[in-house]
Point group: C2
Chain length 349, copies 2
DNA sequence: CTGTTAGCGCATTCAC
DNA sequence: GTGAATGCGCTAACAG
């Protein structure tokens, strides 16, 4: 029983049925006027339907459309931490591209917990999203890895598209960031401007992205002539605080002869800068620092952080295009990175 | 016709119907076993259904549930810019709380365009979200304001809940941030430590949040004895680049006798810091700077930025709780802010 | 081109 | 308790 009153109080949203009645046409005609892919509706009717819809403030029920059509207009995005600039930049790209395609993005945060991630994938699958994008690598030796893979594959089997960002552990579509090559190039450039003795601050062992960067860095040093002792590879949380803490530990251990510290990502690098300063030293001068990602803030810290630029937003866009079957996105290889030298690594020769 | 094959190739997701058949029970029993609020299903049957569901890798179709139940488990979140730390922090809070309530968040970016915002609200309404959260103020004199209000009210009339964050233009539920009081307190403290001559860098005229902060700052100065010439209120984009540009313009105009520049938000403040440095001056020493929000990065810039702390993530959480009718959230007043003095505003006496 | 009808996947009322 | 039947809002054949 609908309300007979003035309409001021609570009332159910108008349905297509209401619109059809108001316009004096059939349900089908109303549907076709409002959506009909191949428009073939008398202009007069069409107009009446549109007016009726406006009058009733009609808004199509997307859930109903989804069940009827058997397909949704949803994209699911999973990130580790929404507030982390790395992920929020990627998310911005995904959302921008999704908007462009008239798709709606639902977002969830794994908080870097593999079990949570699996749980979220299961829940999000219920939405029957057209695409599922997972950003952020997980531990290489992860017990839930198999289950995640199964879940994702089942999702793909049922017509979904999953895209991984910077994590090719599973045999799925991936937007590859050449972390290894980027770090290698960085190492070469740093040796090129005079640095010889390095240390590294990175995330927990087994984090794929972090591992690739460290390995690449190591390879670059080996080729160019820099040194990195195994003792000088510090592990901590893959966050700003982890970078701060890692650097603090490195400094407490005695300054040693380390000239430059490579942080496996920018947020850690920024934390490292602060730790150096808090220890009474001058970053850049006493200890040089380099990061990875080129998140927006690194231009604004002092000294500005040398890093490897990763086109984060573009990666988000590309992830969605890739999922949607964009030919170009398919063809392109790994996302190009670029070394950006700044004041945190002044030349030494 | 379902596939008879091995199941390796594409196949439609299992439906509740499939599960029921596999378990040898009726649709109703399957439904009750998997969800049934008032559980009243034979344990034996229940078990069989659960097993069948697992075997078929069943995932309930949320759209179908939404249609049948007449209600969704969705929360819609609108922000100006996802990559902006202010919004991404709020978003993180909303997502965390939503997850807690087993709600799914869909996110969209208005890009600070009122028309886009209106359009997005219309689209998102189609999802029939339980809650709609809008963050970020819009121009006070905005032609689409009326339409937005209408749309939002219609949404509420149909049972939805909208919550505004830091914008009470419309007559709707709001998580209020006392921007005025925060800025006023900041002004008093700054005068207290010796500053007298101020300038302000803020967003476009009419931006409510920005306006409140500037007015509060002005009021604080008036009470404490600081001065701010109208000429020294610079307007620019409400972004990092806007802050940089605004400061550059201020500096180019001649240093004048301005001792401290108040940026209406932290991202502008951070940009201002960089502009000062790029002009060959030392921020904090030559020109002091203060911001607003206390986004994570302001601890890591040099000098660390004095600001007014706004509990961004908590605001996101509270917005959702408020929408959900949480009594505490209703009772609480404006979100408390706190002045945080840092090195960018060294004491002058 | 338009209207009628049969589902889409699921919850739920109603008999059994 | 359990199952059959109805309906949610909408789309997509299917006939006219």
């Amino acid at each position: 029983m609908a309300e007979a009153g003035t309409g001021i109080s609570r009332s159910a949203p108008a349905t297509l049925h209401d619109v059809a009645r108001e316009a004096g046409v059939s349900l089908a005609t109303a549907s076709r006027s409002l959506n009909g892919s191949t428009r073939k509706v008398n202009e007069e009717y069409r107009k009446r339907v549109l007016e009726a819809a406006a009058r009733l403030d009609y808004s199509p029920n997307l859930s109903a459309q989804a069940v009827a059509r058997g397909t949704t207009t949803t994209v699911a995005l999973l990130v580790a931490d929404i507030a982390d600039p790395y992920f929020s930049s990627i998310a911005a790209g995904v959302v921008a591209e999704a908007d462009h395609e008239h798709l709606i993005v639902t977002m969830a945060a794994t908080e870097r917990d593999p079990e949570r991630e699996l749980e979220l994938v299961r829940t999000l699958r219920g939405q029957r999203p057209r695409v599922m994008i997972l950003a952020g690598s997980r531990p290489t030796a992860d017990p839930t890895e198999g289950a995640l893979g199964e879940e994702l594959r089942a999702y793909e089997r049922s017509g979904g598209r999953v895209v991984l960002i910077s994590r090719n552990e599973l045999d799925l579509r991936t937007v590859l960031v050449d972390n290894f090559a980027g770090a290698e190039a960085l190492a070469r450039e740093l040796v090129g401007i005079g640095y010889r003795k390095f240390a590294v601050i990175t995330g927990a062992e087994g984090l794929r992205t972090a591992a690739d960067r460290v390995e690449g860095f190591r390879a670059g040093l080996a080729a160019a002539g820099g040194t990195l002792d195994d003792d000088d590879v510090i592990r901590d949380a893959f966050t700003r605080d982890g970078g701060y803490d890692g650097m603090r530990r490195l400094l407490e251990r005695g300054p040693g002869d380390v000239e430059l510290v490579f942080a496996a990502n920018d947020v850690m690098g920024v934390g490292a800068l602060s730790a150096i300063r808090d220890a009474g030293l001058t970053p850049g001068t006493d200890v040089a620092v380099a990061g990875f990602d080129d998140i927006p803030t690194v231009r604004d810290v002092t000294p500005a952080l040398t890093t490897v630029r990763v086109p984060l937003e573009e990666i988000g866009r590309r992830a969605l295009r890739l999922a949607l079957g964009d030919a170009d996105a398919q063809a392109e290889g790994a996302v190009p990175t670029e070394v950006v030298l700044r004041e945190s690594t002044p030349g030494r020769k």
